[in-house]
Point group: C2
Chain length 338, copies 2
């Protein structure tokens, strides 16, 4: 306790003197940071340091003095003053309830976070864990282009909605010993979701499925099959996976992964969809709003998590700020120390 | 036109053969990607490639074949097949409306985006532009700790609410030739906002300010003074700036900067605030909700932008995934190629 009081007093006194010294050297027109009496200033600083709740004011005054000190023209004087500044900063780190002492790191989350491991291992991934990158995105944000290019650059597998639907269909077909196999299915709509797959099925087909999926609606069955497949793959290989709420599935199964959400300003997505799909402004907006609604509904139905909210991912990227290649570079750098 | 048709036909045929070859080597239980007749498969692929709207199915089948090809055990065979895969991928890049052809990059946004420039300049910033990092954050997400540590590591200035209020007050005091200066003000509440500053002022004080700020409410005057100060500083120096909607101010003045938003899951912020500010669960939640409301209101009032929505930043970071040091490393790596 006494130790802490002494530490506080030392910091307060040295900071007060540093402020005076910086002022002597620069004579800022704004006056000194502490331009009241030493006694008063020390008392203020001591009070501030005694509780974390206000200790960010210490940070502010430290920063204010440091900002000024860096502008000292004379190189030697600056070095001397910054040296004292750094020593005081070291002392502040020793305060029992210094700012920054309470980290925000969520161990359980971090454990699932490969890129943190990557930081730790100087850019290498744990040998026991596969590199799994889950990418959620809004349509028109080039998220799939980014995911595909990323997978290609990392030389790892890429899975999207169509591939998933296809692989699952074949696995089931295999289980059901269905002889004749349809070819790779190009028929799904632009942004195939189980709900979309289900629509437009005859009642007979629905009933057949209903029994076939042990009483689950096909939508649910597909989701659960996908979830099982994702976890199975995660034991075997590195991959980039688009959507499918894969991040939530993996988190629930305690499987390490990096989860990224890619979005871009609505107007820029509209502009891109117009170019890409040859739609006019009005129908592009309508189309995007519809897909966003569907994505959100799917994600929130199966995960009860808010779609696109950064707190549900490790990182959200505004692809309009970086472009496709820039975003890929950014993610690569995040994953492997480049 | 003929050229494109020929390109499409070449891609379709080589992809069909590659699929057959991969199947010959692996004999996947799931059958071939194209297990219908060559004619039918080529027709499908050609149709798909003719319009961008469906060309992502080409990407999917490409990826599906590539995923399998990477598992070919024989090293030489794999190299040969992946070579053909890459050649086909090169051809696909030549398609006039290949996927990924329409970039999402917003030139005007990118121009304001230093980290993109950093990518381009191999991690160095334009000599004519200062490095300005705008950090928005939710209270309890350790955003200020991350910002302060970042500034310290980058050896650049750090500005937060208190420093700003202080500097402005002194500038005004100077203008008004006020003789006696109060000391560095430790009196503001935990998360000082102009609105907060204003509250609890006597009517007389408000009226005096009202005339003093030329008919602007002090809240507005402070905002506009801050905006002017931010732009002035941006011409002079590198810095990290917390909040103040600085990113919007700089964007409006076409001043390059990187804008980052830091957030963390509510429960984890609650846990941290309890530790840090010694509050119980109930009051910590109440406190955070109040601050979030105030932040949102302030930001949306002055910028009419949605607070914390990634489309209004370059990047959003979930600090709970990385912790304070991890988040700082991540931003450093984003800014300077490390």
């Amino acid at each position: 306790m006494d130790e802490t009081r002494n530490l506080i007093l030392e910091i307060a006194n040295r900071l007060y003197d540093l402020d005076a010294e910086v002022y002597r050297l620069l004579g800022s027109g704004l006056g000194r940071v502490f331009n009241n009496s030493r006694e008063e200033a020390i008392r203020n600083l001591a009070d501030v340091m005694k509780q974390h709740r206000t200790s960010h004011y210490l940070r502010s005054s430290l920063a204010l003095i440091g900002n000024m000190a860096r502008t000292i023209p004379d190189r030697q004087e600056r070095a001397r003053v910054m040296g004292e500044y750094n020593e005081i900063w070291q002392l502040v780190q020793k305060l029992p309830d210094r700012f920054g002492a309470v980290d925000i790191l969520d161990e359980s989350l971090a454990e699932l976070n490969q890129s943190l491991a990557a930081n730790r291992l100087a850019g290498r991934f744990g040998p026991d864990n596969h590199l799994i990158v889950c990418i959620g995105r809004t349509y028109g944000s080039a998220g799939t282009d980014i995911g595909f290019t990323l997978a290609d650059k990392l030389r790892i597998n890429y899975y999207d909605t169509e591939i998933f639907a296809e692989v699952l269909e074949r696995l089931e077909a295999k289980q059901d010993h269905v002889k004749d196999r349809s070819s790779f299915n190009f028929s799904g709509d632009l942004n195939q979701e189980p709900k979309a797959v289900e629509s437009g099925k005859s009642l007979k087909a629905r009933l057949r499925e209903f029994s076939r999926y042990h009483g689950l609606s096909k939508t649910d069955a597909v989701f659960f099959n996908q979830s099982a497949l994702i976890c199975e793959m995660a034991q075997r290989e590195d991959f980039v996976i688009m959507g499918r709420c894969a991040d939530v599935v993996l988190t629930n199964h305690q499987i390490p992964h990096v989860s990224i959400f890619i979005n871009a300003p609505f107007d820029i997505r509209v502009r891109r969809v117009m170019k890409q799909d040859g739609l006019d402004d009005k129908s592009a907006r309508k189309f995007l709003k519809k897909l966003d609604r569907r994505h959100r509904a799917y994600c929130e139905f199966y995960t009860s998590r808010k779609w696109g909210d950064v707190v549900n991912y490790d990182l959200c990227i505004n692809s309009a700020s970086y472009g496709i290649d820039g975003s890929v570079q950014l993610i690569e750098r995040l994953l492997l120390q480049k």
